[in-house]
């Protein structure tokens, strides 16, 4: 379980002495195996919330308690060094999370379908290819809870089908926090939704209502 209590996050402003409030008094829980959607317009704080839950940034106030292993934020630019090749990144992450290199490599190779690009520097990848690598790596490491920022909807039809199969069918018992603008994915896979607006969060058990409110924001 992940327990988020009274979370506040301020960023310092470039032009103003007063810091910018991005998240304000947010509390909720993610149970084991629960699929939670995160809705909000661009700049609403979705990615910030995901970064805080993953523990790579610290909240200004409030606390996050993690009782299961939590992935890094799986997004377009995350967790992989861009001057390094795909293989270098696989080796690094396998080592970092104590997994056998070959196992991780085989999985990512099969999942991300990057072919010979794996021996090219990541900076030469397209945005979709990067997401595939990052997503594939996080699936290979196998966390209890995945934090996913948009990437399920990235890539071509084949990749989308494949990632839904890996994420929602094979890993049905894992928890998931999914930020997405695609109502279909949310409707078919999530059980609850958080809508973020002006730094505040509201939790909905009714997905259709959450999506309707999000569409009206």
């Amino acid at each position: 379980m992940i327990t988020v209590s009274n979370l506040f996050k301020y960023y310092h402003s470039e032009i103003n002495r007063r810091p910018i409030r991005v998240l304000s008094d947010i509390s909720f829980q993610i149970e084991r195996g629960e699929k939670l959607a995160l809705l909000g317009r661009n700049g609403a704080g979705k990615s910030t919330l995901i970064r805080l839950i993953s523990g790579i940034e610290l909240p200004t106030q409030g606390s996050i308690e993690r009782n299961m292993s939590v992935s890094w934020p799986v997004a377009q630019v995350s967790g992989i060094g861009s001057s390094m090749t795909g293989n270098d990144n696989i080796r690094f992450i396998a080592r970092l999370y104590r997994k056998p290199f070959k196992e991780v490599r085989d999985y990512v190779e099969d999942f991300a379908q990057l072919g010979k690009f794996l021996s090219e520097p990541v900076r030469t990848y397209s945005a979709g290819m990067r997401s595939r690598l990052s997503f594939g790596l996080s699936l290979a490491i196998d966390f209890d809870c995945f934090l996913i920022d948009e990437v399920v909807a990235a890539g071509d039809a084949r990749f989308q089908r494949r990632s839904q199969e890996e994420m929602f069918e094979k890993r049905a018992d894992r928890a998931l926090l999914l930020a997405s603008h695609v109502p279909d994915i949310i409707r078919s896979h999530c059980s609850r939704a958080i809508v973020l607006h002006h730094g505040r969060a509201k939790l909905f058990d009714d997905l259709d209502l959450a999506i309707a409110i999000y569409n009206d924001l």
Binding site: Y11, H12, R51, S54, G55, I56, E57, L58, V70, W72, P73, V77, S78, G79, I80, G81, S82, S83, M84, D88, R91, F92, I93, R95, L96, Y97, R98
Partner: protein, 266 residues
Amino acid sequence: MEEEGTLRQLWRGFTIQREVVAALLQFQFVARWGRKNLGFAWLFCESLVFAFPVLAVWHFVRDPYEHGLPMTAFVWSGYMPLLIFRHVTGQALHTITGAVPLLYHRRITPFDLYLGHQGLEAIGNLSAVAFSFIVFYILGLIDLPYNYNILLLGFIYTTWWSMCIGLIVTALASRSEIVHHIWLPISYLYVFFCGFMFMAAWLPFKLREIALMIDPPLQCYEMIRAGLFGNQVQTFYDLSYITFILLTLTFVGLWLIQNVRKHLEL
């Protein structure tokens, strides 16, 4: 958390850190030198690419026995520590900002990044010191050191000093923009006061006393030259004083870097 000894926790933390830093070292190693052309051999060659032209110029424009010292050896003893400092502190402004993707992994702390990044530079440059010495010795440009221990200690203290400054700059750079503007001029001015071009004995008495007190790299240089030239030169260093200064700087650096994640805006 269940009842668990503090020592045990400490040991577990240490094990994780060791694994993370080992992975980072490997990663940075490839990032720094790559697999193309000379690859890993650049580790040694880089320093020579710098050192040879500089030494050649000095060799021809200066009296070969200025201050009664063999010029080439003197310049080598000045230049190599400068390279260590330059390389170890050089990227410190970007240790954190240049590695944002890596910080997406919670297991990697800013201090781990620093150890991987600056540690690799330190190891690389120390190997380059040894390598260039051997090359110079074979070419007959430098004599064997008078006292290996003091020479080695001098280089180790130079590295320690550079690592301290690297740590402090790494930590400050992620907190304040100003550091980015003032660090570059400082690192250029460093050439003039570090001891690259002079020895404590050449300074007037009053100035020497002050310099030895407030200029830690000067003492490191003195050690290196004491080891290299022995009683050909008069050297001034106080091992306990410099150890105390560097320990203090180490703690300042560790204190500054411990909260860096709080200031990060990834």
